[in-house]
Amino acid sequence: MFLQTLFTGLSVGGIYALMAVGYSLIFSILNFSNFAHGSVIMLGAYMGLGLASKFGLKLGFVVAGAMAGGGLLAVLNERLAYRKLRHRNAPSLYLMISAMGCSVFLENMVYVTIGSRFYAFPEFFTRRVVTFLGSSVSVMDLFALAFSLLAIGALGLFLARSRTGIAIRAGVCDMTMCSLMGVDTDRLVALVFLLAGALGGLAGTFMGVRYLVYPTMGWITNKAYIAAVIGGLGSLLGAIVGGVILGIVETFISAYVSSILRDVFSFTILIALLVCMPNGLFGKSMEERV
């Protein structure tokens, strides 16, 4: 049971991590919490669902399509809702409120256009299970975990090695300086949103495959946001570690203590951690965090 619980915790935490990276990426460069990310994830799931059930595409194409769609949606979201605010140097609180508005808007758009019905993805690997020391993991879960690690790894490599990646990291340090040095900050921000949105589309698809697709599924990103805060908002490594920790802690509490007390425990950990380490595990300097 211990091993089974650990596997489940890792798989839950993997999804949290994937979603938390999107929050952290945008926070790192714009210093605000993009609460519309949950809706991008939800719409990513719907896009993946459309590709899988309407066009009958294979999982690889579905994932690629949802990533592209999620990325474009996030860019569009930034262009329409945040860019003007940024140019006027609005406080990050305003950006966050705008993000909340976007989130409610997108969720209700789905209610109006697609409806409140629940949908399930077609079965990609007809319920195949791998057994390891008496514990079972589904093939789909393994695939999701591997692909998520790959995507996050590729993102890390891109940020560390490529020219554009260096520009993003420079922007994380000092946006104003970056623009003085001749970096097109609008393009930079758009690129960051593209990356975060693509990860959101990926997370949405995997979530939809594992659970179901419905308008309020973005709700679970609250947990991912908490994971990002635990890890330290703005830190990619922190988002991953925070996600995995939260997933494992939750699963172990559900299995060994009580599933009803699960959130009581996870939020206690959050509060205790923030009291002791206000910047989270990997957070850097003390700034205005909203």
């Binding site: 007809t126 299995a255 699960r262």
Partner: protein, 383 residues
């Protein structure tokens, strides 16, 4: 002068409208038209409109036509209370619905204070018609469906006798009256038969991942896993259970009976059994089902349309016998309902608890390949 004419004609129009309203009997309907239970809600509304249309065509009741006022309660207890208040303001003579026990329990005291009878459709919790605090019957609450202790007993009996299960596990939604009580009734009945409930695990509404609880259940290797949940939760639990390698037979309750159980659960839910109020192959409901298909071009989503049909016939009969639409007189007439032909057969209300007497239950099996719920057997109370 012209203005005076306009005002006068407006008054005249209002007067005719008021006149028309007096020839109508307003029946309220509180129903989930959006959200997870909307499939049944929509079908319930369709059925009521169909049957009320028929009643009106044949002259209505007491020479008056019935109008249905349906409001969406979004399957939410707070919203259900709001809907009940709106219906009272609209001047309805009685209310049909809600379909869910939690919503019905929230609605009952509001309508009781207004002295308006309610006939719930599929709310199976005992405390819909019985006041939990006083233990007395609620004078204005009625229902055409069986109640959860019976449903839980049927499920336990089927598991123990027909499936030969000795060990059972339960996974239920701790935030739902329905699930919580059914878990309790099943446990009591299964233990009384000689079986053992090895695990009773809960999750909270809106949660998606049950694998922590299921992992625990897996280690105890039960023969059946009882899931008294909505169809979407049952579907997710079934998929996650099979992913963890749990081989137990899934067993559910009347909430499962929606076609999207098969869409959402896929191959994982195949071979599961559940207790339901009616079955599409029940000879009693064939005429109704055929009419429904003719008008709406698809099968009714059982059991709600049938239960709503029973409810409207109970109400019409009560209005006729009471000779008025006064709430207290209606409640008294409803209490005296005897051998009334309704959609699902015949109904007699037990005046002690306002539940129907001798309401049978059916067991259905989920067949995902045929995309159907296959009739397995029928239980009569006292079996």
């Amino acid at each position: 002068m012209r203005r005076a004419l306009v005002v006068l004609s407006c008054i005249a129009l209002l007067a005719t409208a008021a006149q028309a309203a007096e020839d109508l009997i307003k029946v309220g309907h509180t129903v989930s038209l959006t959200g997870g239970a909307s499939m049944w809600g929509q079908s319930e509304k369709n059925a009521l409109e169909l049957l009320i249309g028929k009643i009106n065509e044949s002259g209505g009741v007491l020479g008056k036509k019935i109008v249905l006022i349906s409001y969406d309660n979004r399957n939410d207890p707070v919203e259900s209370v709001n809907v009940a208040r709106r219906l009272i303001n609209d001047g309805v003579v009685a209310v049909i619905g809600p379909a869910q026990s939690g919503n019905a329990i929230a609605t009952a005291p509001i309508l009781e204070r207004a002295k308006i009878p309610m006939i719930v459709t599929t709310a199976t919790n005992p405390y819909v018609t019985i006041d939990k605090d006083t233990g007395k019957v609620r004078p204005f609450a009625f229902r055409p469906c069986f109640i959860d202790p019976f449903q839980g007993t049927v499920a336990a009996q089927f598991a123990y006798t027909d499936l030969g299960a000795k060990k059972a596990a339960i996974l239920y939604d701790v935030g739902s009256d329905y699930g919580q009580w059914l878990a309790k009734y099943f446990e009591e009945a299964f233990t009384a038969k000689g079986g053992e409930v090895v695990a009773k695990e809960a999750f909270r509404s809106e949660e998606l991942d049950y694998r922590a609880q299921l992992g625990k259940i897996k280690g105890l290797s039960p023969d059946v896993l009882f899931l008294p949940t909505t169809q979407k939760e049952a579907a997710m639990a079934a998929r996650q259970a099979r992913d963890l390698g749990i081989t137990a037979t899934f067993l559910g309750t009347d909430n499962w009976g929606s076609p999207d159980l098969i869409d959402l659960g896929g191959s994982a839910i195949d071979g599961g059994y559940f207790v339901n109020l009616t079955d599409l192959s029940d000879p009693d409901i064939q005429d109704f089902a055929a009419e429904y298909r003719a008008v709406y071009g698809k099968d009714p989503v059982l059991p709600n349309p049938v239960m709503a049909g029973d409810a409207i016939y109970m109400l019409v009969d009560a209005i006729k016998r009471a000779g008025s639409t006064d709430g207290t007189a209606l409640a008294k007439a409803l209490e005296e309902t005897r051998d009334l032909p309704v959609v699902s057969g015949k109904i007699t209300v037990n005046p002690e608890d306002h539940n129907p007497l001798n309401k049978p239950a059916v067991i259905q099996k989920v067949d995902t390949k045929a995309r159907a719920f296959v009739f397995v057997k029928k239980y009569e109370p006292g079996d």
